[in-house]
Amino acid sequence: MAKPKVATASLAGCFGCHMSLLDIDDRILKLIDLVDFDKSPVDDIKEFTGPCRIGIIEGGCCNEENVRVLRDFRKHCDILIACGDCATMGGIPAMRNTIPLKECLDEAYLNGPTVYNPQKILPNDKELPLLLNRVYPCQEVVKIDYFLPGCPPSADTLWQALVALLGDKPVELPYELIKYD
């Protein structure tokens, strides 16, 4: 029987959650025995090759590209996990949510104390995904099945959740593995 497939993505995140997944030490060899990776930065597969058992999403949605990827994950993954504080509550990127988008852009590209931008250009290339009005936690965009809080969730948290889900068991994390920092 083919191994179940896992896909991962980093949206508006810092890749810290992916680093935490790599931090499972030698259990990474067991992980490779348990699953194949589909679309993921881990193997650099850019588009889904088919349906996946588990999708792991790091980061919330700050632009239209994030929304497209997240919806693509929901379409292809049986189980979708919001992994880390950015995915579950917006995280550091969501600090802009209390400030209008125009003010954020002006501060970053025009008014900031270290900005050098003599032509006063705001990034507007067609290749750049449009920013959303604010940063959205994943569950406000698609249905999310499991939440793993933490910044990042510890390697043990990720491992225990993955092993439980791959074994069709409920995710029951002990006290010390649910942390918000």
Partner: protein
Amino acid sequence: MSTTIKMTIDGKEIQAHPDQTILQAADAAGVYIPRLCNMKELIPHGSCRVCTVRCNGRPQAACIQPVADGMVVESNTPELTEHRRAIIDMLFVEGNHYCMFCEKSGNCELQAMAYRLGIATPRYPYQFPHRQVDATHPDVLIDRNRCILCGRCVSASRDVDGKSVFEFVGRNSHKRVAVNAESGLGATALTGADRAAGVCPVGSIIRKRTAYAQPIGQRKYDHQPIGSDIEAAGQK
């Protein structure tokens, strides 16, 4: 006249003094009832409602309800736990709680309560309200993003320090903690040594230059859930 009365909490028979509240009697008997606004040295005022129990079948805030002989109290039931979860969920989405960089993380009572209740993420949509930070005081700062309006600072400043530096203003979602000086906290009589500067259950009022003193793994709620001390005392 007898100086003790008998009552039950979750079926456990305990003895209490007639002048105690349910919460005090439960603490003394080693039964932890979750709470946020309550603090031993302050006058209880029942604002957070996390300590709500069923008292002879009726919902009551355990921190303000006096005990009575033969009282039957239910606290650790699925219904009340769900009710507590809902309150904690709402507190998280109604403020801006960035635990990942908060100075109080690991020692925060709101965070610890969420951990104890096993909350992975709140069920409600985040509000992302616009809140003010006041860093005008040399030794203390207020970050209202983290405030849960428990009122501890208000009563500590009024009843312990005798200064009434803090007070609530506004209603509903506009309610916030104000200070009694127009230009901000720095112009009030508050000092860093005041009780009011040290009672905040979250990271809203914090003393400057005290942050991140304990490494991760050695903070108050890193290994033991909030309330474990009370429960451990009850098992002796």
